[in-house]
């Protein structure tokens, strides 16, 4: 299997691996990435792309460490496709809100990738069919984004009757 590392773009050190490969456009979407420590370049690409897709400037590195190897195992092309998609967004300055429509309109072979990544971060699910697995529940982003007001199902909301009060949200879900 080819290792699709863009050696010309990436600082081989553990830090700032992305600094050299992002334009000001993508960097503006994910300012954290310029300084984020990553294990290897492909993980850096994954995290950068993930941050653009889920719209967060900081991502849970521990969860990223669980998702990335599983995504690669599920699809040997994952890293190459992720690199290609990031390059596409970078070069065409694609607004994430219009990404799916853009990919669909051009019948891009990368059209399925955003959903794969979103599904991993936001639902915790990686792969399909008999090999599908759940790698996140409590720290999947769908739970995290509402964690100021809801507990994931099976977790108690609170003592009996506490749910009768109006929901008090912090508005950011970063509780």
């Amino acid at each position: 299997m080819d290792e699709p590392v863009e050696t010309d773009l990436v600082n081989p050190g553990r830090r700032r691996v992305l600094a050299g490969m992002l334009t000001a456009y993508t960097a503006s979407l994910i300012p954290w990435a310029l300084a984020a420590p990553v294990a290897n370049p492909s993980e850096g690409v994954f995290l950068a792309l993930s941050a653009i897709l889920v719209g967060e400037k900081a991502l849970d590195a521990a969860l990223g460490n669980r998702l990335h190897p599983a995504l690669v195992t599920a699809s040997p092309r994952f890293d190459a496709d992720a690199q290609a998609l990031l390059t596409l967004i970078d070069s065409q300055h694609i607004d994430p809100a219009k990404l799916q429509a853009t990919l669909d309109a051009s019948r891009s072979p990368l059209a399925a990738l955003p959903r794969t990544i979103m599904r991993a971060w936001c639902l915790g699910f990686v792969d399909d069919g008999d090999t599908v697995q759940c790698l996140a529940y409590e720290d999947a982003l769908d739970a995290v984004f509402v964690s100021d007001v809801l507990k994931p199902p099976t977790y108690a909301y609170g003592p009996y009757g506490s749910w009768s009060k109006p929901p008090a949200t912090k508005g950011n879900g970063d509780a």
């Binding site: 967060e56 799916q100 697995q133 769908d142 009996y160 506490s162 749910w163 929901p167």
Partner: protein, 547 residues
């Protein structure tokens, strides 16, 4: 430890009805053996399995599948156990484990309304029950005290004695429905076997919002609680005992049942009396399987009605965004409903229904929608929060009428042990569809009163199934028209009794479990009447427990 091969009473099925029947008989000193096709399971492990599940909307997903005791599953694909003969699909779900399907019920524990048992006389549809609502009242009360039922008084079901518990605290979302739909609609607390305070050693609800597929804290009564009580009273449970034949003797009495263990070794168990409590599909399947030369149509089937008059509650629904933040998902899943359409002269024309509001967290559904729609970037979180706060849903719970052609038969396909699979023949008639149409006017009005936008009706003519498997062993006085008599006893075999939702002659508009439990308690009382003192002491014990 050797497995008993004989008992005073042999109970087939360890669900809530079979286990409570067994418990009551064991308390009276009878030896009782419960045969359960599936394995024992552990609550905590189901909770953990659900958190690891990749199908969060599939209440079957955390439950184990046992090849020797197959259960119908439809996700990720139909496992083909319940064969669909059509014309309309009947994708019933049930769990074959010790404790049965109430492991993942939402604990709605409704009584009928009085006219439900007289719809033939009053509206010239369906059939009348062989018993009156008044007769049922005491059995409902006893069932409610065992299960620990909390409820409101204004649901259309009269009662002589108060509920054991106050209604469960109203979630904020339901309060807003109640306030905004008044006075056009009265939104009331559901009648539920869910603790609004500690009851019988089980805690009050803490709002896990996972009543389905599993209450993690034992705040709602489950069949497994009944099994625990039965075992404490001395009943023996044999798990992984797949009954495949009921044996009648020359006089027509049931003499024994035969079961396979997972290795397909056959075992024979004798008894004096037999209770068939294997749900509305497996029970008739078993009677049909037990055909002999003398009983070519199966046991208990002189009427030819075994497996017929299959009913359930189809639902259509409306999903929309309210104009305020409701945040469904705080508190229990099924807290409130509208009960004003459960009875009326209209029943001559169309199905009665309840309107049921869900309080299930919308986060998972909304997330899947957003990913499907390709919403990425900062809009994702923004949309997720906006929709999860406002998305809500109302559904109808429609009555279906008994039709003999809606039925369970034996399929030519066989399961892993070589036992024929059940086959469902089902359709939804115009009576029920008209009821759905009428209820859609309510949907629209409710959405309007809630400032609803983004209205999404379920697809026209398509109904979700509610897993309230009813009919198939219907009670009635005429042995040529009904499988069981007014006490659930087989017309054809004097020592064979049926407990469960199957004996209900009609389905009415409420979740069927409480009625089935009440009828089961009445059946065992008929089998072995308690001394008055015993009955009093049981009532007193219940009162003390709840004091």
């Amino acid at each position: 430890m050797s497995t008993p091969t004989s008992a005073d009473v042999v109970v087939i099925g360890s669900g809530i009805c079979g286990a409570l029947a067994a418990c009551r008989l064991a308390q009276q000193g009878l030896s009782v053996l419960i045969l359960e096709a599936g394995p024992r399971i552990d609550r905590g492990r189901i909770v953990a399995a659900f958190r690891n599940s990749t199908r969060r909307g599939d209440w079957m997903s955390p439950y184990p599948f046992s090849p020797w005791a197959p259960q119908p599953e439809y996700k990720p694909r139909d496992n083909g156990y319940l064969v669909q003969a059509g014309p309309y699909p009947y994708p019933a779900e049930y769990i074959r484990v010790v404790g049965g399907t109430t492991w993942h019920w939402a604990a709605q524990a409704w009584r009928l309304v009085p006219n439900d048992v007289r719809i033939k006389s009053l509206y010239d549809v369906g059939v009348d029950w062989p018993i009156t609502y008044d007769e049922l009242d005491a059995w409902y009360q006893e069932a409610e005290e065992i299960l620990g039922v909390a409820g409101a008084d204004n649901t259309g079901s009269p009662r002589k004695h108060p509920f054991p518990m106050q209604p469960v605290a109203e979630p904020w979302s339901m309060r807003r429905f109640r306030e905004r739909l008044a006075p056009a609609y009265a939104v009331v607390a559901n009648t539920v076997a869910r603790n609004s305070r500690s009851y019988d050693g089980r805690p009050a609800c803490v709002g896990n919002n996972s009543c389905q597929p599993i209450c993690p804290v034992n705040a709602q009564y489950l069949g497994i609680n009944a099994v625990d009580s039965a075992e404490a009273a001395g009943a023996k449970v044999v798990p992984n005992a797949v009954v495949y034949r009921i044996e009648a003797d020359a006089k027509g009495r049931i003499a024994a049942v035969h079961y396979y263990d997972p290795d397909k070794q056959s075992h024979r168990v004798t008894g004096k009396e037999f209770i068939l409590a294997a749900n509305g599909i497996e029970s008739p399947k078993l009677l049909l399987l037990s055909a002999t030369d003398k009983y070519p149509n199966g046991l208990a089937n002189r009427s030819g009605m075994v497996g017929r008059n299959l009913m359930d509650h189809p639902s259509s629904s409306l999903t929309f965004y309210a104009d305020e933040e409701l945040w469904l998902g705080r508190g229990p899943q099924s807290p409130s409903s509208i009960n004003t359409m459960r009875d009326g002269a209209f029943r001559a024309q169309h199905a009665a229904y309840r309107l049921d509001f869900t309080n299930i967290s919308q986060v998972n559904a909304v997330t899947e929608d957003l990913i499907r729609e390709g919403v990425y970037g900062p809009a994702f979180k923004q949309q997720l929060r906006w929709r999860a706060a406002r998305q809500c849903n109302v559904k109808n719970v429609l009555e279906v009428l008994p039709h003999p052609e809606n039925r369970i038969t034996l399929s030519s396909e066989k399961d892993a042990l070589g036992i024929p699979k059940p086959e469902a023949h089902y359709s939804i008639d115009e009576y029920t569809r008209r009821g759905a149409d009428v209820s859609h006017n309510d949907f629209a009005k409710i959405a309007q009163l809630m400032g609803g936008t983004g209205l999404r009706y379920s697809l026209d003519g398509q109904f979700a199934n509610n897993q309230h498997i009813t009919g198939t062993l219907g009670m009635g006085n005429d042995p040529t028209k009904f499988v069981t008599d007014g006490f659930g006893r087989s017309h054809d075999h004097e020592n064979l009794f049926c407990c469960g939702t199957g004996v209900m002659p009609t389905a009415a508009t409420m979740n069927s479990t409480l009625t089935a439990v009440a009828l089961a308690l009445r059946t065992v009382e008929h089998m072995h009447p308690r001394q008055a003192t015993t009955k009093e002491s049981v009532a007193r014990a219940a009162a003390e427990t709840s004091a």
